[in-house]
Symmetry: C2
Subunit: 376 residues, 2 copies
């Protein structure tokens, strides 16, 4: 694909976002599609965007992280039905990363749940129509809840100067927000949920912009206030997120995988997650452990970028000789680590750190090494 | 977007199809994303593809029409739960276009259901994760069914020479297949469902390729056999489908709309669709009719292509003076009809054929006329 560089064809079905005018003015060069919505992938170049993200501060249109709002007397019960994470101690002001599973324990999404009130939640979703599953359960179990997609569009501030930029708009209260906590802070008279979270390892915030009408005013205010900090429009970066081991639903795990295979066992309390529809199916894997799991994979490029790896547009088999023992699902050429960084799923027979394998890319086989930590 | 021509960024999450090698060899120039999968949008140019589709025959990679397979003792009951269309008389060998709705009567998808056996169906879906809704209902109602996405990828043959091309591969039996019926026909020893259907008005077939391993062999066989008929790789054409009034879920109707608003009332038998979860919500609209409905919209371009309309990447308001009375959701410049052709949703006060309105495009307002039939 990269060779031919196909264009993305516009249609209403690939929804624009409330921030699209800002994204276009900033010269977006590429998109992916996420929850039927446009998600920018590159502004200057993936490498320039990467360097800038690590050095300064960026504003990201992540409106595609759509919200599933669940409210009503049965809201907390329904949210717990969706996940093996124990949510019984979740407090207002807290965000929880929650693997969500079907009745077989297969992952349907890996969203962040935001508790707004005892009977009101947002589920900030990865790329699948989780709304359909939540609605189906709510209807099937005759739960007393409303389930809908509200007009809420997240905007992220990411990078080492995020606190300064957020403080310039929302005041110094942002500096005290703890990781995966939020505060309600005012912008133009509107109280917005501002959470310390985001899809990078460089720190920052996600602002849940509640109402499309204030989307561009906030975008413009951030761009103006950020000038002294060299703010730029940015987006989740394909190199940085792989270095950091940030998983992508649909890339690194799918409905085929349990949370334990995705390395998310620490977010599961399968014994105590009473009501989770996948609980029965997950009890055994929670006890015995999975037979394959996500690992960091180094793909050797000979150093100095002499043999860069191609774009990873499909699963690449991981081989021990003639035997497939896993697959790589995301990969990038890392400028900072001067090698190929990748995320893969590896069989337990070969997942020990340091295991040497081959990965079959469309350009041919490459030497690869399994590691148990990412490049962080 | 068209001005900047952004690229689509490759990732495993935007799934390739079993036909991708053929599509790439044919020089695909653009994609959209549909059910998390790549769907080609242009090969030579949209206008050249359009002319060729109407004159000859094309082979389309529509693997993105994923299947939701439902089988088991409760399969027929579950399928009827999904739709206000009365499926009680559906026979083996039949395909039904079935608007699918949630408990509020809002459309979740507009797939084609294929009855394979009394207790086995494929739902060949438009662009939403209908699987999640079907699984949610099946689980909530404790139905005795299996629900899954099988390895089945449709390949379409479309255009006036479709019968000749299909007959060259499957034999003359294809000529007797009636509209929205199918036969099981052999290719390389495998029995495939071959249906007379497809997303154009030029006639043709959809082959449900059951097993990725025979996808490229079938693609190549069609390309070879089609040489005397000037076969080309093609795709759903953005001009031809609007001329023909073929709706696109996510473009022309969404979860906000009932089937009646989408002009699909003729496929609904809301009174007799016993078990449809949206039945209660739809009874009133079925009786009284909707307050807005899909219509053909001509957008005047001055003739001769002097003022072509831009790509329709968002809903364009339809105005009667200062009052919004509807929206255009798909639009194209038609070479054959020498005007702007469009699909819109119009309030009942203004849906009479011949009503003159203005449509607000990103390039400014244009004169528009409402019609009750499309360009067919």
């Amino acid at each position: 694909m990269a060779q031919n560089a196909p264009l993305i064809s516009p249609s209403r079905r690939l929804r624009r976002t409330p921030f699209s005018p800002g994204v276009e003015a900033a010269g977006v060069k590429g998109y992916t599609v996420y929850n039927h919505m446009l998600l920018p992938t590159v502004f200057r170049s993936v490498e320039e965007d990467y360097r800038h993200l690590k050095d300064a501060v960026q504003v990201w249109d992540v409106a595609c992280e759509r919200q599933v709002e669940v409210r009503g007397p049965d809201a907390a019960r329904l949210i717990q039905m969706l996940t093996p994470r124990d949510l019984s101690k979740m407090q207002d002001g807290q965000c929880f990363y929650v693997p969500m599973v079907d009745e077989t324990g297969g992952m349907l999404n890996d969203p962040v749940a935001v508790k707004l009130d005892e009977d009101r939640f947002w589920i900030s979703i990865a790329d699948s129509d989780l709304l359909f599953w939540v609605k189906g359960l709510a209807y099937g179990f005759r739960l007393d809840v409303l389930v809908d997609e509200p007009d809420v569009s997240p905007l992220a501030i990411q990078g080492p100067k995020s606190d300064d930029l957020a403080a310039a708009i929302f005041g110094d209260a942002v500096r005290d927000i703890r990781f995966f906590r939020y505060k309600r802070l005012a912008f133009q008279g509107r109280e917005l949920v501002v959470a310390r979270s985001g899809y990078s390892k460089q720190g920052g915030f996600e602002i849940y912009v509640d109402g499309s009408d204030i989307a561009m005013p906030l975008w413009n205010a951030l761009m103006e206030a950020g000038k002294p900090m060299d703010v730029h429009a940015g987006c989740p970066n394909g190199i940085e997120r792989v270095e950091g081991g940030l998983l992508s639903y649909g890339n690194d795990m799918t409905r085929e995988n349990t949370p334990h295979e995705a390395g998310l066992g620490r977010f599961c309390a399968t014994q105590s997650a009473i009501g989770c529809v996948g609980r029965d199916a997950l009890l055994r894997v929670a006890k015995e452990g999975p037979v394959q799991q996500v690992r960091a994979i180094e793909i050797h490029t000979g150093g100095g970028g002499r043999a860069p790896i191609p774009p990873c547009d499909r699963a690449w088999p991981l081989m021990d000789g003639d035997r497939q023992v896993g697959q790589v699902t995301s990969a990038a050429n890392s400028p900072d680590f001067n090698t190929g960084v990748a995320i893969g799923m590896v069989r337990m027979t070969h997942w020990e750190s340091g295991t040497e394998l081959d990965v079959i890319t469309p350009d041919g086989p490459r030497a690869a090494t399994v590691y148990d930590t990412f490049w962080i």
